[in-house]
Amino acid sequence: MTAILRAADIHTFYGKSHILHGVSIEVNEGEIVTLLGRNGAGKTTTMRSLTGLTPPRQGTIEIFGKNTTHWPAHRIAGLGVGYVPEGRKIFGSLTVLENLKVPPARPGAWTLDRVLALFPRLAERRSQLGRQLSGGEQEMLAIARPLLLNPRLMLLDEPSQGLAPLIVREVMAVVRRMREDGLSVLLIEQNAPLSLSIADRAYVLDDGRVVYDGRAADLAKDSDLVNKLAGAGSKAVRQSA
């Protein structure tokens, strides 16, 4: 397997606060990799570093063999990196259709029609404003939007946040579907059992450092470790163990 994303020893800051202390992660072609950790462990910062929104001050990031460490966000997206930000970040004053037209469409299998076919609720509500959608619909829109870039790598930051269990299952089905389509996925989740159940590999971050790196299935078995490291969402593991 070849790594399509490789972050090596990245150090990222917000102003003067040092958030990531040398994080190294890899995503291989066709893999679902999950990034776990407590609130404030640096998961979102890692993703913001990868997307170019908060570039690291030290270390290097390579995506599809290109050194993107200091590229602006739009160039990284233009390589075929889709990003579903934390909190969905739907453009509330734009319609569903307009939200889908923001990303400059790259040629590929994902067309507007195909995306709308995958998300029939969005097709029904295409003329509604983003802010009029339910949380689940907004999440679907947040996932649908970067698909129009025809990405080869998707970065998802807590797609299940604040959603009803039924919708969460739907979101996870879409993530699996992406892999079937040949996309690689990096997934941040608070809900560790959920993301470990669909991921191939997992990283656990704590205090801006990688403290676990291994197969998702192995981590899922070690409920003590999950409890200790992955925080809130791990309760379910304890109950089921």
Binding site: T51, G52, L53, P72, A73, H74, A77, G78, Y83, P85, K89, F91, G92, S93, L94, E98, N99, K101, V102, P103, P104, R106, R145, P146, L149
Partner: protein
């Protein structure tokens, strides 16, 4: 009654200029996050370039090319001077920068074209009064209203229906997410700044036809245009137009009864709006309250 109509119509024309200026200012404020103190400078650039070009292109050609050139110069200024300071999130930097730019443009204009006023020749066909009773309603003034309406509608259609417009609106709401979705926000902001300056240039050419040209001609228009944005509501382009027309009309009407207060009434209106409805008439909740 005749006097009231006369003053109200004068005020309306003045308001049209405020509205055009406020529209460009609001565009630039919302996407570029720049309080463009040099907006009056771009008005002057548009007006003087139109003046210089009109012997070659005629009034009509100059009316188009003058504002376009102001827009292009705006683009260059954005690229060279404004872009490097986006990183500094404090709006003070761009305020100081554009303030300095305004002074430079005014003095450059004085150096190139001289300090004395110049006239912009307007074709006779649009310069005669429409009727004798309402002598103040000249064809040119109706023309100014028409062009402004057309430009505003054009901008609305652009923002509403084109990909560029959709991305400008998206960037206004959330620049970061727009960039992460692959939109080149540098280009987007440059174009947007250029559009804003184009509108300033258009206001300049149209105003020159009524008021003539002087190097500080932008100064008297820029403060009321900021007031128009505050009254109309920051973040609302339609609000900016409405605010401009309202304060122009109010100033005109007050002139009839108490001329000395015609300027003060604008600021009084702003005071009332800020006290009663800080977001402005059409502004969105959350920006100031």
């Amino acid at each position: 009654m005749q006097l009231l109509l006369f003053n109200a119509f004068n005020g309306l024309i003045q308001g049209v200029f405020y509205a055009l200026m406020a529209l460009g200012l609001a565009l630039i404020l919302s996407l570029n996050s720049v309080i463009n103190m040099a907006h009056g400078g771009f008005l002057v650039i548009g007006a003087y370039l139109a003046y210089t070009l009109s012997p070659y292109l005629g009034f009509w050609g100059a009316l188009i090319v003058g504002p376009l050139l102001a827009g292009v110069i705006g683009l260059v200024v954005e690229r060279g001077l404004i872009r490097p300071i986006y990183k500094r999130s404090d709006p003070l930097y761009s305020l100081l920068l554009t303030f300095g730019l305004a002074l430079i443009i005014e003095d450059l204009t004085r150096t190139i074209w001289g300090a004395q006023g110049l006239p912009l020749e307007v074709p006779d066909i649009i310069n005669s009064p429409v009727s004798e009773t309402y002598f103040f309603i000249t064809g040119y003034r109706l023309f100014v209203i028409g062009i402004t309406a057309a430009a505003s509608i054009g901008l609305y259609l652009l923002l509403r229906y084109t990909l560029l417009g959709i991305r400008i609106r998206a960037g206004t709401r959330d620049l970061e997410t727009t960039a992460a979705l692959g939109v080149n926000i540098y280009k987007l902001r440059a174009l947007n700044f250029g559009f804003g300056c184009l509108f300033a240039g258009l206001a300049g050419v149209l105003a020159a036809g009524v008021l003539g040209l002087t190097p500080p001609m932008g100064n008297s228009l820029i403060m009321p245009s900021f007031v128009a944005i505050i009254i109309g509501g920051v973040g609302s382009l339609f609000g900016a137009v409405l605010g401009g027309l309202l304060i122009g009309l109010a100033a005109g009407i007050v002139t009839t009864y108490y001329p000395a207060a015609s300027e003060a009434v604008i600021y009084l209106m702003m005071l009332i709006v800020l006290a009663v409805r800080p977001r402005g008439l059409l502004g969105e909740e959350g920006l100031f309250e």
